[in-house]
């Protein structure tokens, strides 16, 4: 048997049998997987902030507790904005895979607007808390609250800068493979922020304003 026949046989085998080792993974998989690891480490960082918040929940130093401060209607609107933006981000991913620039830019613009709406509401809430004398220096509970929710807000701000960068890159450079990989990572990041927000509105706002 000649070597070419051998390699050919091996190649067809590899092509057919899924799960066989078939050379190094594509760049898209390596990049996406690496970014997935980063996101998981980011979630570990948030879990430390959540643990801090949960431990300090009752340490209000005689000041206002979550029940006196939180406006759940505001939180529900923020949640709606972020959830809708996660959906439109998914639409942008589909448009990017289909290489449809028009729908990609539209979906990303809507995602950006919804993210901006979320941030405006969050900043308004922070400003009103500080104005009512419930700033981060008032009690350990409020320090933990501002650290946790503020950290999520910073992530959303960074995500929006990234989002605008991706819109500009697709506009000037088109759907090159490297830009497609960045869009994949951005979508992972944005969806992960929404997952962290689920924990925020449950642990901080709903559980924090109970009892």
């Amino acid at each position: 048997m000649s070597t070419t026949a051998l390699t050919e046989a091996a190649m067809t085998q590899h092509g057919a049998a899924v799960g066989d080792w078939s050379g190094p993974a594509s760049k898209r998989i390596v990049t996406g997987y690496g970014f997935w690891i980063f996101i998981l480490s980011d979630i570990v960082l948030f879990s430390a902030l959540f643990a801090t918040f949960a431990v300090l929940l009752g340490q209000t130093a005689g000041g206002p507790s979550g029940r006196d401060l939180f406006d759940l209607r505001n939180v529900a609107i923020e949640t709606g904005f972020l959830l809708a933006s996660s959906f439109t981000c998914g639409m942008a991913s589909i448009a990017a895979d289909e290489r449809n620039a028009k729908w990609f830019q539209l979906a990303m613009a809507v995602t950006c607007a919804l993210g901006l709406g979320f941030l405006v509401l969050e900043v308004q809430e922070f400003v009103s808390l500080v104005a009512r004398g419930a700033g981060p220096t008032r009690s350990a509970f409020l320090s933990a609250f501002f650290t946790l929710v503020g950290c999520h807000g910073l992530h959303v701000s960074a995500g929006m800068l990234w989002l605008l960068t991706m819109m500009a890159q697709v506009f000037t450079k088109g759907f090159r493979p490297d830009i497609q990989r960045r869009i994949l990572c951005f979508a992972l990041f944005w969806h992960a922020l929404d997952i962290i927000w689920i924990a925020v509105f449950t642990i901080v706002y709903l559980l924090g304003s109970a009892k």
Binding site: V18, I29, Y33, L72, L83, T202
Partner: protein, 128 residues
């Protein structure tokens, strides 16, 4: 995406495209959105209502949150149990393990200290 579905693995966030037109993919995201809205609405309803037995509310909220995270992982991040996703799921499992250790451990230790230590004001009194 086009270079992904002949490999043994797929990147996290990528869908298998063997059986997915644009309409089907949009339907997937819509399903996820619908389920997420349902779970979020239930969470806010349970937190604000008097109809549910009160001690059960925190447990219900945590269960609803975990369910919604699952919905997001499956429908938005496309993390599945398929063989092409093994690496992604294993990384996720390790992340979840660390999160559980970190949160559970912190709460356990601090709760134990709260039970066994004198309240801080009494401690200060003794030091005078």
């Amino acid at each position: 995406m086009s270079n992904a579905h002949h490999e043994a693995d797929i990147a996290p966030g990528d869908e298998q495209l063997d059986h997915g037109s644009v309409a089907e993919r949009i339907a997937g995201y819509l399903t996820g959105l619908g389920l997420a809205i349902l779970l979020t609405a239930t969470s806010f309803f349970v937190a604000g209502t008097n109809l549910v037995w009160e001690p059960s509310i925190p447990v219900a909220l945590v269960v609803l949150a975990i369910a919604q995270m699952g919905v997001h992982l499956v429908f938005f991040l496309h993390i599945t149990t398929g063989p092409d996703n093994t690496n992604n799921v294993l990384a996720l499992a390790f992340g979840v393990l660390i999160v559980i250790l970190l949160m559970g451990g912190s709460l356990w230790i601090m709760d134990n200290l709260n039970h066994n230590m004198m309240p801080m004001d009494q401690l200060m009194q003794m030091q005078r």
